[in-house]
């Protein structure tokens, strides 16, 4: 059985026929070749696959593509606008919030959700908000600073 999935991804409408069992993350990576969204586990634990679905952070491995039919997805590839990095992208660069880069897209998307409803989170709030995202490289120290950098920048502008 195939079903038609129609999704707006990073502002562009896509229509594809897929198997209903296809996960959203597989749709993004394999069908649309948007490989910035990563897969790090099979238990919905690591957060590497986090995207924004209708503006809210979602582990895209925990939703079938067909469930997202008609909705709007933003991935890491859609964060920079008109060539300008999103403040979170800038923050991760400025504060050395990434090493191997594998968890980074998921971290940035989760942090984007946080900043959308809490524009100036403290350290504790940032750490809690990122509890669903593993990073094995940074010890989270600089990730926290990266989110703070972005929050400050977004507040200032």
């Amino acid at each position: 059985m195939q079903v038609e999935v129609s999704l707006t991804v990073n502002g562009k409408l896509y229509k594809q026929n897929v198997e209903p069992r296809m996960l959203l993350v597989q749709f993004l990576r394999d069908e649309l070749r948007l490989t910035g969204t990563h897969i790090g586990c099979d238990t919905s634990s690591c957060g590497a696959c986090t995207v924004l679905l209708d503006g809210k952070a979602l582990k895209s491995c925990t939703m079938l593509a067909v469930q997202a039919n008609g909705k709007s997805v933003k991935t890491i590839e859609g964060m920079a606008e008109n060539g300008a990095l999103h403040p979170l992208q800038e923050g991760f660069h400025q504060e050395h919030g990434l090493q191997c880069g594998f968890c980074t897209p998921g971290m940035i998307m989760t942090a984007a959700d946080l900043l959308s409803h809490n524009p100036s989170p403290n350290e504790h709030e940032i750490r809690e908000a990122l509890e669903g995202n593993f990073c094995r490289c940074t010890g989270y120290h600089n990730i926290v600073k990266s989110v703070q950098y972005a929050a400050n920048k977004m507040q200032a502008s």
Partner: protein, 283 residues
């Protein structure tokens, strides 16, 4: 990391969902947020042949109120509940729980209906609904029925539901006890499910406990209310002394789960600690 083959059906109304349920009987599963079901499907621990997607059914979403009840639609997400002013006012423990269920991503899309239908013994909601004296509204082809939370959870991943039924809503009484309620949780450090969670709703009238509902998650294969604690409190002054006495022997007679994070003795002890913390918060 990829489920078995499955067919997908979108239900646009409750009636349509029920029709599909009756059509596919034991070869289908309801999916809403999918945050309990999809992880099981990925690991191939669940292999439904058909999925009936109820996430688009408007009447199942949202949180409303009547004079005596808060009505939580089955498809309300954890985050929806956390943001609701009605919940905040009438059942603070539910709001607290929404910050403790899963993680941000799970809270955004996981639904309360899916959570309780899944009936994981370490999940938070079943316990909260027990403490809240909630009613689960279940619909089938014949109509709707109400089940008290006390009767709904029947065992490990097991509920009072039949295959052809659908949870449509959860009713939370607007009671004095629910207004004075709290949820305290000690998470399993990896999954962040409850190693022990304690939900307590206490009505105090004229300085005495008039009504106590204290329930546990993660302790036993079935979430349960601890009648020992409740009875020990009712009619007493609500203070450190009565709390101490009431929590001295929690989960008495209950078969307590064991795993490598907590053996029976430790888990039982934690249940006591968190019961005490919860009650102390309310006293």
């Amino acid at each position: 990391m990829v489920p078995y083959k499955v067919s997908y059906h979108k239900a646009n109304s409750v009636a349509e969902a029920i029709e599909l349920l009756n059509k596919y009987e034991d070869e289908c599963k309801i999916i809403a947020g999918g945050h309990s079901l999809v992880p099981m499907m990925k690991l191939r621990l669940a292999e439904p042949e058909n999925l009936i997607d109820i996430s688009g059914i408007e009447e199942l979403s949202g949180i409303t109120e009547t004079e005596n009840f808060i009505i939580i639609g089955a498809c309300a997400t954890h985050a929806d509940i956390g943001r609701s002013d009605i919940i905040k006012k009438h059942a603070p423990m539910l709001e607290q729980a929404t910050n403790k269920v899963g993680d941000v991503q799970v809270r955004n899309f996981g639904t309360i209906g899916g959570n309780i239908a899944h009936a994981d013994p370490a999940a938070d909601w079943p316990t909260l609904l027990l403490a809240a004296n909630a009613k689960i509204i279940i619909q089938n082809a014949e109509g709707t029925r109400e089940v008290d939370a006390d009767d709904f959870f029947q065992g490990l991943f097991s509920t009072d539901m039949e295959e052809n039924e659908l949870i449509t809503a959860i009713y939370i009484p607007k009671s004095a006890a629910n207004r004075n309620s709290v949820y305290r949780k000690f998470p399993q450090p990896a999954s962040r499910f409850a190693l022990v969670g304690c939900a307590a709703a206490i009505e105090v009238r004229n300085g005495k406990v008039a009504n106590a509902r204290v329930a546990f998650a993660g302790v036993s294969a079935t979430p349960f209310r601890d009648s020992g604690i409740e009875k020990a409190l009712e009619g007493r002054n609500f203070n450190a002394e009565s709390i101490e006495a009431a929590t001295s022997n929690v989960a008495n007679g209950v078969s307590v789960m064991q795993d490598h994070f907590a053996n029976e003795k430790y888990r039982r002890h934690l249940a006591g600690v968190f019961a005490k913390k919860a009650l102390t918060d309310l006293a």
